[in-house]
Amino acid sequence: MARIGVFICHCGENISATVDCAKVSELAAGLPGVVYSTDYKYMCSDPGQSKIKEAIREHNLTGVVVSACSPRMHEPTFRKACAEAGLNPYLCEMANIREHCSWVHEKGDATTQKAFDLTRTLVEKVKNNHPLESIKVPVNKTAIVIGGGVAGIQASLDIANGGHQVILVEKQPSIGGHMSQLSETFPTLDCSQCILTPRMVEVAQHPNITLYTCSEIESMDGFIGNFNVKIRKKAKSVNEKLCTGCGLCTTKCPTKNIPSEFEQGLANRTAIYVPFPQAVPNKPVIDRANCRYFLTGKCKVCQKLCPTGAIDFEQEDEIIDVKAGAIVLATGFEIKNTDFFPEYGYGKYKDVINGLQFERLASASGPTQGAIRRPSDGKTPEKVVFIACAGSRDPAKGIPYCSKICCMYTAKHAMLYKHKVHEGTPYVFYMDIRAAGKNYDEFTRRAIEEDGAKYIRGRVSNIYEKDGKLIVRGADTLLGGKPVEIDADMVVLATAAVSCDGSESLAQKLHVSYDPYKFFAEAHPKLKPVETNTAGIYLAGACQAPKDIPESVAAASGAAAKVICLFSNDELTREPIVAKVNRMPPPIFSTCMGCEMCISICPYQAIDKENITNRNGEVIKTIAKINPGLCQGCGTCVAFCKSKSIDLEGYSNKQVYEEVLALLNN
């Protein structure tokens, strides 16, 4: 016989202001099976929880209903309290009489009645609950980090230094990401490569890190602690084991005019190439789309030259199966190119460049060895216009958000230009200067006050070319919208930071949600900034939203800390809300007919076939079997099952039928 205890919370006045809590308690006391009912100001407080514990012990309760706030808020609290008093936690249910009742209805009998109806519904449900034990799953202590930019590098090193195995997967031939392309970094102006390359080398040499470059995620299944991931390692046409990285092959490659991705098209590379001198791994790859041999079937110059015979034209893509307990997404961002801007010439003016191109121009290792020269004719520009918010904060262009990094790097660009071309004049068109960060505002002020960057508050309407100059038409909104025309030698657009190409399909492979701009979505905007909605998958860096280097590194370390926390357990405890196929005594064994419908619709591939055999090992019947480690408890199989042979713990058919009946029969 059920012995249910009912506890009505006032939540201060949040509930009691519109619901007569004492009356609900009184009505509940009259329900069949309810042996104890009370109301209290704050059920979640220590004394409130003690009341529940005492009642459980005193009245030998077999079930508890707490009518209070949303179970999404305090279900764990009350279940824990029940467990402490010796009641199985899954015999405790909550009725939501705050968010779904007191807060959304006016004070009155109808509201009190609804609070009671909801309470009664859960009383009927809890009568049909039975004790459940949480599920234990093992944890594979290897992490996969996707993306080898500064965030991926940081996350990999942190996890590896914590003593765990890391598999770092990078799409490009080298790790380093955008940071390796930068010249100097704000607000300290230290050289980007000087601080990054040691980290890159550390990754390459770390005994706990396995690096796969030219690689992408092919597919993923499994769940937290137990992911199975297939990695596609694209053919590099160079045998890494044999290659010594001498670089002889790259010197004689006949195809020399391929715009270098690393140099943002400001310099060319060969078809067999190392993306940049400090690349990790520092071994060349063949770009098959541009290689003469792959295009015409003739050449093989590199193969003839290679002293170790490392060139392998027959190499194929390799699929690598790995198992991991956690995944860190660090795929970073991209920036819009200049061809995104019709009013700035659709990308047809060579001297209108984007911010990354300027970084390459300013970089000592760049195509001009750090001299600021314009791409069209190599002249030193006397006037350079920097345009902030190019594409960002621009709903008309489909990018309403602020790209966050541009204000700072534009100030830096103006500064670097002035440091390198003393007689030059940098103009900056801006809307707002967003320099919130340690030493950030001071930095932008320095650009204006000490380096003489001419800041003009306004957006540029259009740019056109005339007599070798770029005519930039803007307005000074601080002078009443007065039109300003500058005949510049070069224009740098601080183009919007956007999510990477392919982030949508990657998110779908990993079951991670993303925002309308295809940035990956964090689990909670404030409290879970590096977690995703999929347990065991974490976010680092700008794949979640535009971030600067310190923020990316901080997020990466945050994600790594989460992974290390996860790996500190040998096994995980999971909610036992899983589906079960019923079993019967012979000769039926189970009502399951073996139609396999559930197998085909399960989103987690958690259902398998199971043979029931007799003593002689002959198969009598084949039925479905659910792997509780994989099952996430969505219950889709329950609704699909034709013979009603599957039920979901915690939401069983019996439980929900009783809920419906109780809700309707007052």
Partner: protein
Amino acid sequence: MNNELDIHIGVNPARCYQCGKCSAGCPLADDMDFTSNVVMRMLQSEDESLDKELLQSQAIWLCASCEMCISRCPMEIDIPKIMDYLRQQSIAKGLQNKSANKNIISFHHSFLDMIRFTGRSYEIGMIADYKLRSRKLLQDLTLAPKMFLKGKLPLFPEMVKDRKNIKRIFKHIDT
């Protein structure tokens, strides 16, 4: 006026974040007493005296409705529609800018009056009417004969047959 705009023409001036791209591309910004982003700012202020200043401005009449501003506006604010509304309000409240009233507004009235009576615009008649209104009797004195010689100024107006219908349209808007 800020709220009126949202109700009457569905344009919300609060969307403007004062980037000035409209003024930067406006062909007439140099000649305006208030550039378009300042116009937006005045509307945002919800200050009656600024509203009045705006309705008395020359800028709203100088706007040539070239639509460059909205075509480049990052917030897609229909400034030409706002300008139309401001001009109509300026007339309704009798706050027309004095110098614009002499030329631009007079011309508009001459133009519409011509259509009111003939259904089509007819240059000689219209220009004659405009000269009387604007008292610019000498303007275009050299151009007209040249145009006449080139056959560009027909002496007699082409008229719409169903002038009753045209009158009906004008009658509705007059009331």
